[in-house]
Amino acid sequence: MPRFTAPYPLFFNPSVAQSGTPGIADRPDFPPGGSWFLHLNSNPSAPSSAMALRSFGVQSQPIDDARGRLWTRSTQLFITTSINIRVPFFFSSGTFATARTAAAFSYFVEEFDASFRFVRAVTMPGEIVVVRQDFWWFSGSQTFTPVSSGPGFTIPNPVRGVLTATPNFFYRVWVDLNADIRAQGFGPGGGSSAIAQLAWDIDAIEVLFV
């Protein structure tokens, strides 16, 4: 089973999408090439939104592990990860207004043919939800305990048949972190706020073709 560790050869870290001047801290973390720190907080006094995608990836071909050579038949792709989720802080508060805070890990798989021409991209159905809270507050606030926090998390494997791999094709497996916040800020009457913060290490990505 091809096992990859940091630093990963592929990364995709587009600028954080934002509107309404939210606060953002967004940076690589230790160990380099496999870790990231992200903090999103809403503008205290105006409507604001932020959405981030941070991704590390690896590339492989359908390989028969036992024989150490490329498969000549179609196979099923299975992926295992070891993700360490650190310093999570998720919060929302509101008076008569909506707020959202959320973060989740998932796989994004790209398929290229034997000549490395792009064929398709698939977002796998399995995910690790760290927090996903979408509120309409009358008046209240809450710090959300992450559903997942600590080392050794793997994103659930896709069910068999979700992705069938073709011999000699190339596959890029990405581990995506999607996080977002939105809140209305506090004005003269009512408002809301939101924070999403976490750091994470992708300790390993294992790719198996069966």
């Binding site: 050869p9 592929l10 990364f11 995709f12 870290n13 587009p14 999408a17 509107s19 309404g20 606060g23 801290a25 940076r27 690589p28 973390d29 230790f30 380099p32 090439g33 720190f37 903090h39 907080n41 205290p44 006094s45 409507p47 939104s49 959405m51 995608l53 991704s55 310093v87 802080f89 919060f91 508060s93 008076t95 008569f96 207004a97 909506t98 994004f108 790209e110 290229f112 490395f116 792009f118 991209a121 008046s139 606030s141 890029r172 990405w174 977002d180 939105r182 809140a183 209305q184 800020g185 506090f186 004005g187 003269p188 009457g189 009512g190 408002g191 809301s192 706020s193 924070i195 913060q197």
Partner: protein
């Protein structure tokens, strides 16, 4: 000149067209959702204006929430500081 403690990737690897396209599609949805958020805020202001003064103690609750939020943001400042340069 001190080196950065954490190297920042300077360029994206090749072959990211599909990733970029998927991200741009999501940004379009994001922009729509933000417009909805702004619309909600405007609706709230209009609704509150229509309520009789003092019917709901919204001002006091808002001030409490805003103060609590600023306090939380202050408490998170140590996390937001950049790692010290040149330190392993």
């Amino acid at each position: 000149m001190a080196k950065k403690s954490v190297p920042v990737p300077k360029a994206q690897p090749p072959g990211l067209e599909s990733r970029q396209a998927a991200w741009e599609q999501r940004i379009e949805t994001f922009a729509i959702e933000h417009d909805v958020l702004v619309g909600e805020a405007e609706q709230r202001h209009a609704l509150l204006d229509s309520l009789s003064p003092g019917a709901l103690d919204i001002k006091a609750a808002t001030a409490r929430r805003a103060a609590a939020y600023r306090k939380i943001l202050d408490s998170l400042k140590p996390f937001l500081a950049e790692p010290k340069k040149g330190k392993q």
